[in-house]
């Protein structure tokens, strides 16, 4: 009886750590669980929309093809792969900082924390550059009245920019600005070409064809379809139409689309850009706040706060968060760029 009482007193007397983890670490784990569920909610929603529009989802290899200082060179995926390496490496320096903290080596912890911060900043910068390319766009496209995107290719199947063929018509179309309107509403900036200019340019270049959003599956019905330009069509690539059908489709155009925003984008399905902005943006926000938290902890390390506390557990806790951000990126990388 006596022993039982003592045990109870010890259990509820404070200083006991459930699951063998300190309060702060356990709470960080629980936060990570909830944040992981938020991210997986986003990614699962992305999967839902992608399965819903599986026949006309943009192909990532064709969207993300830029690499710094290599203008005009098609380099699918290399840049994101580099970003992935940077983030994994900053995860490594973080875990090295935690490791040095266990051995109470203040200078080493500070050095590795600094490297982690630098890695995080490079990553956020890269993401901003990736966004810039995505928003600016490269080739431009046309949206039909039905809401689908038409892109332009030549007879070799290579993409053609609007700037390379659109005619210059003498049209008067000035951007409507807020200050001119009665009701103080403006309109977004106008595309470089009007629909009529694209249509006229298309007519003047007989070697141009239209590529639709639809992915070619090589079915019997598609092979027999006379409206498809089947010399170019490859399985699991976007479908190219014949010249006659292209002209018919282009007559239906009502908007010129350059780059991407939340309403429409030149790559195809509207939801593609929405999910790209939302998921990579939310992840980038996590990286950014991770960098801020890391800077705070780094300053504390420099001031010797944890030296006096005789424990570097704080570094371990922000380390958990930082690794989690890396973990999320591994999944984003797979589902946005690879699959």
């Amino acid at each position: 009886m006596g022993t039982t009482v003592t045990t109870t007193a010890n259990t509820w007397g404070g200083g006991n750590e459930p699951m063998g983890a300190s309060y702060g670490k356990l709470m960080m784990w629980f936060f990570i669980v909830s944040d992981a569920l938020t991210f997986s909610g986003f990614l699962a929603a992305y999967g839902f929309s992608r399965f819903k529009f599986i026949d006309n989802w943009p192909i990532a290899d064709e969207v993300f093809t830029h690499f710094p200082f290599m203008h005009g060179v098609e380099a699918p995926m290399y840049y994101v792969a580099l970003m992935t390496f940077i983030l994994i490496f900053s995860s490594v320096t973080m875990v090295l900082a935690v490791d040095a903290g266990h051995q109470m080596k203040q200078k080493k912890v500070a050095f590795y924390m600094l490297l982690t911060i630098v890695g995080g900043l490079i990553f956020v910068g890269s993401q901003a550059w990736e966004w810039k390319n995505f928003i600016t766009g490269e080739f431009g496209a046309v949206e039909t009245k039905g809401g689908s995107i038409l892109q332009f290719v030549n007879k070799e199947g290579e993409r053609v920019k609007l700037a390379d063929f659109a005619a210059t018509l003498h049209e008067e179309r000035v951007q409507h600005e807020r200050k001119n309107g009665v009701w103080f509403v403006g309109e977004p900036s106008l595309p470089s070409y009007s629909v009529a200019e694209v249509q006229a340019g298309f007519k003047a270049h007989p070697d141009l064809l239209i590529r639709t959003e639809k992915i070619y599956r090589g079915t019997e019905a598609e092979k027999a379809d006379k409206t498809l330009y089947n010399e170019l069509n490859k399985e699991k690539h976007k479908t190219v139409l014949t010249r006659a059908e292209s002209e018919k489709m282009l007559a239906n155009a009502h908007l010129v689309v350059e780059g991407a925003n939340l309403t429409r984008n030149e790559y195809g399905s509207k939801l593609f850009a929405d999910f790209f902005f939302f998921i990579t943006g939310f992840h980038g926000f996590h990286v950014f706040s991770g960098v801020i938290i890391n800077i705070i902890i780094y300053l504390n390390v420099l001031l010797g706060t944890y030296e006096r506390r005789k424990s570097y557990e704080m570094v371990e806790k922000v380390g958990l968060y930082w690794h989690f951000v890396d973990l999320v990126w591994v999944f984003v990388f797979t589902f946005f760029y690879l699959v």
């Binding site: 699951m19 063998g20 983890a21 300190s22 356990l26 784990w29 629980f30 990570i32 669980v33 992981a36 569920l37 997986s40 909610g41 699962a44 999967g47 839902f48 929309s49 399965f51 819903k52 529009f53 599986i54 026949d55 006309n56 290899d61 699918p76 995926m77 290399y78 792969a81 992935t84 390496f85 994994i88 995860s91 490594v92 973080m94 875990v95 090295l96 935690v98 490791d99 266990h102 051995q103 009245k145 039905g146 689908s148 959003e213 639809k214 399985e235 699991k236 239906n252 380390g319 958990l320 690794h323 890396d326 973990l327 591994v330 999944f331 990388f333 797979t334 760029y337 690879l338 699959v339």
Partner: protein, 117 residues
């Protein structure tokens, strides 16, 4: 707790870094090459290449959680509380949403609404 971790783990950390880098290189290579026999073989509603990507991703996730986040040093109760919860809920959600997504796709395909014109 964690007295055993006072010994330096650097060797293992660099090993895991090498492993993660190697897997990423393999993924990027496969993503650019898209080998025909993987890309055009379907298993369970997805091509084999996608399954390879997903398995490699889970492999990387395991190493990040276990080695970097030091899950291997935690008690089994904590491991289950965190990983078990997340894995169960994600599998559940993904199953429901993907099934529903492909159902909606089929409805669009056979339905009378013409939207892609």
């Amino acid at each position: 707790m964690a007295h055993d971790t006072h010994a330096s783990n650097t060797k293992r950390i660099w090993f895991v870094f090498g492993l993660l880098s190697f897997v990423t290189i393999v993924e990027v290579y496969l993503g650019i090459e898209r080998p025909h026999f993987l890309y055009f073989t379907n298993i369970l509603g997805m091509n084999l290449l996608n399954w390879v990507f997903i398995i490699l991703t889970l492999y990387k996730a395991y190493y990040i959680t276990w080695a970097f986040m030091h899950m291997e040093g935690e008690k089994p109760s904590l491991r289950w509380a965190v990983v078990g919860t997340v894995v169960f809920l994600i599998l559940y959600l993904v199953f429901i949403l993907l099934t529903e997504g492909s159902y909606v796709h089929d409805v669009f395909k056979v339905g009378t609404i013409k939207w892609n014109f």
